[in-house]
Symmetry: C2
Subunit: 133 residues, 2 copies
Amino acid sequence: MDETIAMLRARGIQPTQQRVAVLRHILKVMEHLSADEVLAQVRRECPMISRATVYNTLNLLVRKDLLRTQILKEGTVVFDRNVSPHHHFIDEASGRIYDIPWSALKVSGEKSLEGYEIREYQVVMRGRRRGQK
Amino acid sequence: MDETIAMLRARGIQPTQQRVAVLRHILKVMEHLSADEVLAQVRRECPMISRATVYNTLNLLVRKDLLRTQILKEGTVVFDRNVSPHHHFIDEASGRIYDIPWSALKVSGEKSLEGYEIREYQVVMRGRRRGQK
DNA sequence: GTTCGTGCAAACGGTTTGCAACAAT
DNA sequence: ATTGTTGCAAACCGTTTGCACGAAC
């Protein structure tokens, strides 16, 4: 049985060919893709998919908590398959975004902020990846 | 003597009427404005300013380190008059962005991230402002 | 009289929307 | 038959660009 289809069904989403292709692709690649990147890449395997369907599908998956959007790049939103709290590092040379595990960093002091009801937070780091790839 | 004009001169920028109006407005308001918001608000005092000039001016001021851009909202960049390290809180109800002083939060663990050369980082918090206004 | 700055309109890129054709139930 | 899904094209919105007019050195 197909895990991607099961995920969609579990959220009450009809597993159409296009939706399965989109979700399957995102779960496969490790990158944080923009909608247009998803479109281009999914089209290789599923040529008859339209821009509108990709956008519709991605927004649907976000609404159903299978994906999250992140505001990390100028001009475009990226979709994150990791829906649990974590931090981000953005390589300024390549633009590539890396997930940093929640446990790798510790933020303190946020409880003493008066008047701010924090629903969620993350550390956003920018710089350069060094060494390996 | 005018402080705004002095700031521009110090950076070798010709203090034209439009540039002074843009910078003066940004230094006056406390908000993190988008370019179009700057345009709309500056036009009240300086009606004969064009969209292109506002965008040109803002980009120039960023290039000369008088402003910083921040990627915090979907679909638009905001301009930050605070060019020193600090954190941000975004009120999800109003969209308003608040500066959080660098000293209010402490992040630890970032030195032990192997392979990541961090040039800068900040904590981005989202939630609701409580109480006063 | 060059250089620099401005205003306008067109172009651009990411995203959304309206709508007609088409499945699926 | 009704509802949900897709593809296409047009619309939209923030931003950039090309170009001609005008101001400043």
